[in-house]
Symmetry: C2
DNA sequence: GGACGACGTGGAAGCGCTTCCACGCCGACT
DNA sequence: AGTCGGCGTGGAAGCGCTTCCACGTCGTCC
């Protein structure tokens, strides 16, 4: 009897044993094996031991497709990077978020998959992926203003948390740094140094972080009674090369600037280079504050005063919010805005 | 009749229609719908039209778990980054590979998931993930010498291609740049410039790219009749900060050096900074050649002469090899070594 | 004109798993 | 001593899909 069953079910993939085979070997039913695997309390200690031995011996691993077909769970969450510019992919902030989320998940049974979408076509592919039930939840980052993914994923009704607040103020769970507050503090620091012409080298204005950091700069200047001067702002793209080019333009537009708030550290590194090339000393002639507190901020020349984001906290919140939503415990659209902190170094 | 069936099977997830519902709506059997979905030729044009309309109307998407339970395919491949140092994650080379593989897959029905493993525990998690049948194939990159993943994945018997040749010369499919040749050409270029004391700032020696690039430098010097001088080599870690520190050490060990081959562009940027700080002019006092042809190589000061790797070609080969193996067409352990190219700029 | 393929279709089995339900066993009550 | 409840267990259904097989229904060939 038993051998027949074994042969029948093991034929196709000898390397991958099934529940049945474990059950046969352990001399119990499939139901019991399943209970042991899923740590149900309704199993006697003896049965548990026997089954575990059989699992060990066969090196049994449950088939995920079969399991998720019935449980409708996958124990997988996706981190979607919606970014046409592949260079931004190597931005230390993204790397930090990916690293942090991955670390926050390490202790759990959840697996992280990273998906990238460079255009509408790939966005659709990702929405389909989610719709097909490949993942239990999604974290969306680097959202551009006209991004379709939030809409598409809402429609799919998959648990969703954004990294960065949404552009349109829609009801959706998100975690963000206090970009506006951080930029304001950075600018106030520059003003406190006695600088009168504080420029801004912003990020892309279709990224909410770009918008908010710009807004923080505007606010600090306004609070200090400064007139807004369009010559003092140039928009960058968060890359080092972009930062250098933008700084060149800024020096051209406003040769009398004596300080600049740069919306990201990679851009600030580029800006430092442009300033050096232009013969401006940092911080003597031009004080510089960056944003991110990336590794490079501590090692560049001069070391960069910058705004640190609490990456650990952000990623923990991200994962917490998403898990709560997956568990169905979540209220509507919880949000978390994490405080930033000015890190003083030599550049300002 | 029909309504009953519909209700029975649609109960749980009203938003996600099943094959049955499509079949009922189209007035055909599930088998026929399945054939249409899978583009089988054995369907009449009329049936096809009707079914497609029903699919459209219901916004039907096949359930991946159910499908892969029977087909034993997932249409997903994993790119595994086995790297404890999270900073390396933002290395432009990795970003380029991820981007390229993702692009090469864009035209196919395959989805790319990115997995990272920082320690043995996470490596085991990934092996389990593969063993559970979540992916059809795996690309492994950034392999350290004592990495367990190649062994674990071979055991799982999942189609596998390495990005970078294996340390132990084992039989396994891989794609790699001609790191050794590139390093040799770079060093020969330095020698051709008349430099006599050509140092090497290597990558980590537990990464095969680090080993091979070092070997190329050694070979070029040997070919030119130079005695090996341990003072001329320092090991770095592929990061900018590491490159800077290593350059400082190198200048200390060999103050008379007049050229340096740096095994990666981020390190070269750090090295340039160290050289400037030390008051050495580039290329006048010290000529510098990097490796990667990262974006930063063109924009740094001075622009970096560097060795370009054919990323497009490498990622195309990677995907091609893996797909062939998944399809079962592959012979044993095919390999591809892609030629590199010296890009001349101002630093050497 | 009758047998024979080819072709499109539907029925049904089964992929590996979870979970509901029923069953039998035991100790603890009345 | 008889009944009851709890507990561990096995049987069986069913998750949504693919695919084998059998079954008409044609057009075609001798």
């Amino acid at each position: 009897m038993a051998p027949v069953t074994t042969e029948l079910t093991s034929g196709a993939r000898p390397g991958v044993p099934t529940l049945d085979q474990v059950a046969v070997l352990a001399g119990v039913s499939r139901a019991t094996v399943s209970r042991v695997v899923n740590e149900s309390p309704r199993v006697s200690p003896e049965a548990r031991v026997v089954v575990q031995a059989a699992i060990e011996q066969l090196r049994y691993v449950p088939n995920r497709a079969a399991r998720s077909l019935v449980t409708r769970r996958t124990d997988t969450i996706a981190l979607v990077l919606s970014e046409p510019n592949s260079q931004v992919f190597s931005d230390p902030f993204f790397a930090g978020i990916v690293h942090g989320v991955s670390a926050a998940l390490a202790e759990t049974e959840l697996t992280l998959v990273l998906l990238t979408a460079r255009d509408a076509r790939e966005q659709r592919k990702i929405a389909r992926y989610a719709r097909q039930g490949h993942v239990d939840g999604v974290v969306l980052m680097s959202l551009h203003s006209e991004d379709l993914l939030p809409d598409m994923l809402s429609e799919v009704a998959v648990p969703l948390v954004l990294c960065g607040r949404p552009h349109d103020g829609r009801e959706v769970a998100y975690v963000d740094a206090d970009n506006r507050g951080g930029a304001r503090v950075a600018t106030e620091h520059l003003l406190g140094l006695g600088r009168r012409r504080v420029a801004a080298l912003t990020g892309p204005m279709d990224l909410i972080a770009g918008v908010d950091r710009h807004a923080g700069w505007v606010q600090a200047l306004a609070d200090a009674g400064h007139e807004p001067d369009p010559a003092l702002v140039v928009h960058g793209d968060f890359t080092e090369a972009g930062g250098e080019a933008a700084m060149v333009r800024l020096l051209d537009q406003a040769p009398d600037l004596d300080a600049v708030f740069v919306a990201s550290d990679p851009m600030a590194v580029g800006a430092l280079r442009a300033l050096r090339t232009a013969g401006r000393r940092v911080p003597d002639d031009v004080a510089v504050v960056g944003f991110d507190d990336a590794a490079v901020a501590a090692t560049c020349d001069p070391p960069l005063t910058t705004v640190a984001q609490p990456l650990d906290r952000m990623t923990t919140e991200l994962v917490g919010l998403l898990r709560a939503r997956i568990a169905g415990e979540a209220g509507p659209a919880e949000t978390r805005t994490c405080p930033t902190r000015l890190v003083r170094r030599a550049s300002a």
